[in-house]
């Protein structure tokens, strides 16, 4: 199936570039979504099976594939709307790259081999760059350049990590670096090398996960790319970074460096939240603000994993809900842009009057992303705090709580001003754009799901997450 998927995705992508007609591109993109759904269904129903030697439909992969498919579908839909208001010049490149991006992310989710993951992650960098550059402005160019450069450097770092990994395993009979073999061999490997390998991989993939220390370019990319793409970046791509690190973490967790990795994750998570809190208080663009909130959330996820106990479960739950909420917020930002004709916070205001349905999404989304109940993120936060209390990590608990409050303050201030009060800076005459309320339905569904998780976690979700975290710590 995965082979058919890759080939078809490639064909569709090429066809889009070749055929160029708007209508045909739409049909092809929709076709791709259908393909994506098929893959997801297939993967879900063939859980545990290995395909093409390097791909396994394991719990984690299926879980993230589900999310990707959901976000991707909506992203394509919003892409159509995005282009309705723009000249169609780059319509085909956009969609070709989008198809490529989604396909490579899907592949990376399912890959069971360190190197294959690595290759596909690099592929996402390349396709993503095209999408970031889409608007062809100077800032877009700047973001693209930085993204490309830093991600490539990061990927080189990650590769160093992989090489260290293989160095540490050198001598044992080893063919390929699948996560499974890693897990079995890690306990006997040289811990020092494992540590170096992990830190390199961690830093390398932190570009994708938007986690400290390489969070910087992801934020630029998120804020510059078109909103539907921003949504995909901040959810699916961030998840990819997370998954890559998490798979490595899980594979190495049987080894003596387990505790050490936990500490690294907590350290990085704390720094992430700290940085995010600082930025949140200064953010001038709503999209950047959302990107910082991803940084904060990923920091929390890292802490969750590092704290152990129920932490990993909570972290995965956070990732799942974050995907839903953050993507819908990014989609909404597209509407904000269209209605207010600006993306500066101090020029925007009174969104509630101009686009009530969208404003509702923004309001609900904000309360969801800030992890105040009844957001599904609250469950995750609650469990993480619970674990901190259980393991008596008072200092971390206090720090995280204080910083989260700052984040809430920064974000709530901005979003609420956008929603209710008038702009700080007066602009020249402008006519507010119009948005059909039906565009919000997808976002509403996402948010409803995110809220639902606070009260009720569907059994299949619980099963996928539990399956995903099974085996941590050996």
């Amino acid at each position: 199936m995965i082979l058919i998927y890759f080939i078809s995705a490639l064909l569709i992508s090429v066809a889009i570039v070749v055929l160029r007609k708007r209508g045909i591109v739409r049909v092809l993109a929709s076709l791709f979504i259908l393909l994506q759904v098929l893959l997801t269904v297939y993967a879900f129903s063939h859980r545990g099976e290995t395909d093409l030697k390097y791909f396994t439909y394991d719990h984690l992969g299926v879980l993230f594939l589900l999310l990707l498919t959901a976000v991707g579908t909506l992203s394509v839909y919003h892409g159509f709307i995005y282009f309705r208001y723009r000249e169609a010049g780059r319509f085909c490149y956009y969609h070709a790259a989008l198809v490529g991006l989604i396909a490579s992310i899907s592949g990376a989710y399912l890959a069971n081999d360190v190197t294959v993951v690595w290759i596909l992650v690099e592929a996402t960098t390349l396709t993503a760059s095209v999408l970031i550059y889409h608007e062809k402005t100077r800032t877009a160019l700047e973001a693209t350049w930085k993204y490309l450069f830093l991600c490539s450097t990061g990927i080189a770092f990650a590769y160093m990590g992989i090489l260290f990994l293989s160095l540490s395993l050198k001598g044992s009979d080893l063919h390929g670096l699948s996560f499974g073999t890693l897990a079995t061999l890690a306990s006997s490997a040289n811990p020092l090398y494992l540590k170096i390998a992990f830190i390199f991989v961690f830093i390398g993939y932190s570009t994708k996960m938007e986690l400290f220390p390489m969070h910087t370019v992801g934020i630029d990319a998120n804020s510059v790319a078109p909103s539907p793409i921003g949504a995909l970046f901040s959810s699916a791509l961030v998840n990819l970074g997370f998954l890559s690190i998490f798979r490595m973490y899980k594979a190495l967790s049987g080894s003596p460096i387990y505790e050490w990795m936990n500490h690294i994750l907590i350290l990085s998570g704390l720094l992430s939240i700290l940085v995010a809190g600082g930025y949140m208080l200064k953010a001038k663009y709503p999209k950047r603000m959302l990107a910082y909130s991803s940084l904060e959330m990923m920091g929390l996820v890292a802490i969750g994993i590092g704290i152990g106990g129920v932490g990993p479960y909570a972290a995965l739950l956070l990732v799942v809900v974050h995907t839903l909420v953050k993507s819908s917020l990014f989609f909404q930002m597209g509407q904000v842009n269209r209605v207010l004709k600006t993306l500066k916070l101090d020029e925007s205001g009174r969104y509630m009057n101009l686009n009530p349905a969208g404003a509702l999404v923004l309001l609900l989304g904000m309360s969801a992303i800030l992890a105040v109940p009844p957001s599904g993120l609250f469950v995750g936060e609650y469990l993480i705090f619970k674990q901190m209390v259980a393991s008596q990590q008072w200092l971390i608990l206090a720090l995280v709580m204080i910083l989260l409050c700052c984040v809430i303050y920064g974000m709530a201030t901005r979003v609420l001003h956008l929603l209710f009060s008038g702009p700080y800076v007066q602009r020249d005459e402008w006519i507010p754009g119009r948005v059909r309320w039906t565009e919000n339905i997808g976002q509403m569904i996402f948010l409803a799901l995110a809220f639902l998780i606070c009260f009720y976690q569907p059994p299949f979700l619980v099963e996928l997450i539990r399956g995903g975290i099974a085996g941590i710590g050996g």
Binding site: T115, W118, I119, E122, T125, L126, S129, Y133, R138, T139, L141, E142, A143, T144, W145, K146, L148, F149, S152, T153, I155, A156, Y159, M160, I162, L163, S166, L167, S168, K170, G171, L174, H175, G176, L177, N190, L192, Y193, I196, D220, S223, V224, Y279, K282, A283, K284, Y285, R288
Partner: protein, 209 residues
């Protein structure tokens, strides 16, 4: 022989830190390509022939020829020749590089393991450090790019250390090299060059808050 190549490689790295002109950079990249070929030739004796040709093509054709030529094109196209705006004077860069060397030697000693060649490890780490130092201490994006290429070389060199058992790792590293270098250099030539004639990375600092 191996040690000679490695020493030469280290010297090119020092040269990076003191050179004043971009053209020197591209020449150094080419030299490193040749040295890497030499290393690969000496190191990978038991690899099958197809793989070896692949490696040879990557090092000799791509690294020593295509990349420096592309760099030259950029230099001539943008008309920027000197490395003069740096965040630090080259004196300090040299000091950093020396510290990098010492640290890598110490590290390789710390990391000493029976199945790993310490010299190899040391020089690979040193290359990595130099690449990072090149990026961190320079403001012009051309230098950043060169720094990145140096990091790539570090990765490649490293992959040689394990490659004899897992050739796929080397091949993947080569793929990274080719795709990313070409892409980055391509973006540099076609897009960034169009917009920013002087290639100052200071121009690329708008995305802040």
């Amino acid at each position: 022989m191996l040690n000679l190549f490695i020493t030469l490689f280290a010297i090119t790295l020092f040269y990076f830190s003191i050179s004043e002109r971009f053209r020197t950079y591209s020449v150094l990249i080419a030299v490193q390509g040749i040295l890497l070929f030499g290393l690969a030739f000496l190191e990978l004796k038991q690899v099958n022939i197809a793989n070896f040709i692949f490696i040879a093509a990557e090092t000799l054709v791509f690294k020593t020829f295509i990349v420096p030529v592309l760099l030259y094109r950029i230099i001539s196209r943008t008309g920027v020749y000197k490395v003069h705006t740096r965040a630090f004077p080259s004196f300090y860069i040299l000091i950093f590089t020396m510290v990098g060397l010492l640290v890598s030697i110490i590290l390789s000693n710390v990391l000493h393991a029976p199945n790993v060649d310490s010299v190899y490890l040391a020089i690979a780490l040193f290359t990595l450090f130099t690449g990072v130092i090149l990026i961190v201490t320079h403001k012009r994006i051309f230098s950043h790019m060169v720094g990145f290429l140096v990091i790539e070389n570090a990765v490649f060199m490293f992959s040689l250390a394990v490659g004899s058992e897992m050739p796929i790792l080397i091949n993947v590293a080569i793929l990274l090299d080719i795709f990313v270098s070409v892409l980055i250099i391509g973006v540099m030539i076609n897009r960034v060059g169009e917009h920013y004639s002087d290639l100052e990375s200071e121009n690329l600092t708008r995305l802040k808050h």
